[in-house]
Subunit: 345 residues, 4 copies
């Protein structure tokens, strides 16, 4: 069985494992108050060209999302997010469990537009009796999105402008940020992010860490209060240095982006192979979550040797499968897959 | 600087690191639905002689506490716990943030008695207008306690009897369970725990894992619903196999208890050394958190070479320091410390 | 200014005011533990032919909704509700503030269908990894709906069947229940409700009480626990007898239904008058919230003498206005309004 | 049976009932956006000599407490309150249900001292790892307290000074504010309150309204956001004018204080009668909740003709009974009670 169902199948590259092994028997102060964590934070600030940013390490993505939103919203506020977003669909109501409504917006391609955000805000702020409605307090987008599409710099900037106009924070969930930055057509670097939002994450779990999400906070008040929220939500790791050493490794010699590039290149290979073999796409893009449309028969045939995610069951009976590449994906596995896919057509 | 401030200074023993490294490039299904996790759960069930128990892995202790309590309590119920307990004092209101009151009870030595629990329940159930009061729905104890004392089998059994009488669940927080089981005077084994409570944890973070708490659930309904609560609170690890392989290693060849024994033996050494040197104890016991009382001058003198936790500032100006041993504590460090302590008297 | 914007403009009919005045200087035990409340509950049980029902009085509708849902849902469950429902749109996130997601469903006419409910449930229960999704635990409908449509007995029964199949409770928000029961075409009586759902409200605020919603609970466990939830959410009235005496009055000599009939008859008059004058309807039905479509000019012209609710701004620039009748609406005001409306055409 | 168990046995004085009756068939805009509510707010601002204050009307006390605290605290903050306080003991965990811990302080006489508040704050702010602790964000006191004692101006001012020093809000729960203001020894007027705290309530339920608590908010940000919190917690009354007209009546011709004086004078009578008859007091003070200590036999004898609250069961087997006076208490009932009490000695 060759697995393509997600981008967190394997552990971590050798540099990360070695960093953990090397620090393993050092005696570290707890909770991330250790020199490795400090150094990792500095490396991230440098990579983002943002010496004032607050940087915090968390273990997982849902945890990061719920903490950022619970910290950034007032009790009567909600977060605007795409209907396809992870927080709206795949977190067992984690955001609502912190007391906040998700103001979901239907999108064409998993991406919010500045115009849509503006409409939600206008509609709220034009209400006579605003007090019956949930006030939009933040906007949540992910880069890449749940369906693999991605925002351009201009698109994010336009959303952020609307956010500033309506006194909202913008949160960019970067669980797959590296895979976006290295995808063909990307016009963004890590150093752009601090200008484009109030808070973003640099995902580790899917991009070369055993686990870990770095939260980069540009908003001063949010940053100052963030540690309290982390602890209260059970997100403070006793051995915080484990997150520190991993991000130290990932942000040394550009490892983070190199790993991302590997996945991005293989994603293009998968995409082009699928296209030339004549497959349709559920959403057609070049990032690391490829969503080809297969017949039931094709899906079953392939499932004997490969595992995919059943991303969506289409009304016509076909299946949108998710095929992910990651830093750990093997070139030969991709080639074998493409050759087997071709035979099905 | 030799550190004694807590029992989670170092990473993990070689067996645990090797287990991670070995599984690192395997392709694992996500979220703990992998063979390593299944195997680890079986090993734990065997060690606990409890084939029907639900076993779940979480990353950290506060996370475990808040999920167990949020899962086990109805909205109008609270948890009875010692005033010195971790949940009452050191979790930034994590339990209250899930909506539940902690019904705190002052104790002599960090331990609830069955009698105290009974009094809280009687007082509630005898109330005419119960609906104004928080109903006790669970009891929380930790083994060892926050101050290092421990429950005997009979003491826990008595508390559990009261719990059953008043339809409450009993939760034993075992962040340091192994250190209790291997302490001198312990009359309990892992196999006793399932008979003594509704749910307990087998702590990894402080006892040989890089991170991880195993939650063992004896209550059927709680067990069935537990995974939903885990995900909702951000506690579901994407690469759940990381927890699985660690607990596999810890529960192979009795590693977990061997590591605990190492810490327990050194704790006795520290205790006896302190005693013979004439130090008082804040709480006098033989487990891995020793709490000698030092003068300011002694504390400062030692702090040049050692780090301790300032556990409590006493009214007479002296300091109760916390000196922890763990699976990773070096015999020679303990000897040096005791010799330096003696010189201070 | 003649007001038609809602059905809670005036206080209460003379019978209700007199009942309060009469009991005013009696000495009542607090919190609804008084003979008037007991009697009112019995009258309601009789009217519903349901001697075992739990009956509880609350002050307002949002309060009733949030308490019923917080009491009836487990933390990881959500409630299925129409996208147009009051709880989804007009309660400032009150339901989410108790930790629960509203699983909203787009409807044709403000009414959920059994088929739609079934689809949500199927989709959830067919999921492989259910634990990422919010489990449907209750269904919320209102009778009449927010747009004035109403469920037939068969429609509610079909939804309730689906609820039972999927172990969900059905909650019927009856803020306007009487107005539904007395509307033309209604095939339901109060005595049918207990067979059609797990819990329902008999609205007072809009139907003849100064304030008050009676919650009738058929589910035994929900009923037993309900008082605790009421108190915890701040819904327990100190002078609960105020609710008791009002419902005593409303359920004596069929006052409740007589008041409803008055509103229902005038609603028909408004509807027929609008229709014969050639107005379109946003939703065309015969209940007490009439939603004619007006041009901007018509809306403004009428607003000089009347107040309406601006129910919706249509894409073509026209306005759906809400014209409500109630127990207090005057026949002559309706006639004047219809005559003025006719002149605008 | 003559009832003395609480101060909310009866409805309202004739002026309040008449005000409701008079406005009953007016057509009022909903939710307190009506002229009566506006006028009542102005009257309160005048009485408080505080033209800028935000004034909001709520139905009940627990509701007021939970809304004020949920609105005024950040998620990681808690409220300092006496262990005897209503919020800590008698609200079914309503505050914790909004996610906040109550930092309870043991008191001598139900009153927090500035010194005690300071110690809690110092202890928190001196902590090295503050992030493990609940940050004190507000202080809650009630005037009179749950045990009937009351704060002097200087005492409140001292607490408020500490609050300002540590960036906390001070909330004075005035469910019995009038009874405090009119008690012998009071050195405070309504006009002093705005200088002494961030937010306070002027209780109606126990002091002449059928129901209602006026929340007076001096903190600008809290005031601006307050309406959203009210609606979200189910506290917004549809017929808000009902609260408006009651407070209009109460704040016309000093009715509020006159009613309070009646209760206060009778309380003194009860107190002096008890004293001269030789009864001990659980807490000895002159306000409207008198707490004499009775033997079981005395308590039972009296309970044949009177109802009291069993306030506390004393270790020596005696009972602290609560005897309340209110605006509605009859002089002859007090005289009969005192005469019967005397006979028991």
């Amino acid at each position: 069985m060759i697995r393509f169902e997600c981008d967190y199948l394997e552990g971590a590259p050798v540099q990360v494992l070695e960093a953990i092994a090397k620090a393993n028997l050092e005696q570290h102060p707890g909770y991330g108050f250790d020199p490795h964590s400090d150094h990792a934070k500095d490396l991230i600030r440098q990579a983002c060209r943002s010496p004032q940013a607050g940087v915090y390490f968390l273990v997982g993505g849902t945890q990061a999302n719920l903490i950022v939103l619970a910290a950034g919203l007032k009790p009567y506020q909600g977060v605007i997010a795409p209907q396809t977003s992870h927080i709206f669909n795949h977190e067992t109501g984690a955001i609502e469990a912190t007391g906040h409504k998700i103001l979901s917006v239907e999108t064409k391609d998993g991406k919010l537009t500045a115009q849509q955000v503006k409409e939600v805000c206008r509609s709220y702020w034009n209400e006579t009796h605003k007090l019956f409605f949930v006030q939009p307090g933040m906007v949540y987008v992910s880069q890449t999105t749940e369906v693999g599409t991605m925002y351009s710099k201009a698109e994010l900037a336009a959303i952020y402008d609307v956010c500033k106009e309506y006194h909202m924070k913008l949160f960019v969930d970067g669980a797959r940020l590296g895979y976006a930055l290295e995808a063909p057509g990307s016009d963004m670097t890590l150093a752009d992010l601090p200008q484009l939002c109030s808070v973003f994450t640099i995902g580790g779990t899917k991009q070369g860490a055993l686990f870990g999400e770095a939260v980069v906070v540009m908003d001063d008040e949010l940053s100052r209060e963030f540690p309290y929220h982390i602890k209260q939500r059970g997100g403070l790791m006793a051995k915080g240095w484990l997150l520190g050493v991993q991000y130290e490794a990932l942000f040394t010699d550009d490892l983070y982006l190199k790993l991302a590039k590997h996945a991005a290149d293989l994603a293009v290979k998968v995409h082009d192979g699928l296209k030339s073999a004549g497959f349709d796409f559920y959403f057609d893009h070049m990032t690391n979550q490829q969503l080809p449309v297969l017949t039931q028969a094709q899906f079953e045939a392939l499932s004997r040797e490969y595992s995919f995610d059943l991303f969506a069951a289409l009304p016509d009976g076909r299946i949108a499968a998710r095929i992910c590449t990651s830093w750990a994906t093997k070139q030969e596995d991709v080639e074998k897959l493409l050759s087997d896919l071709k035979k099905l057509k």
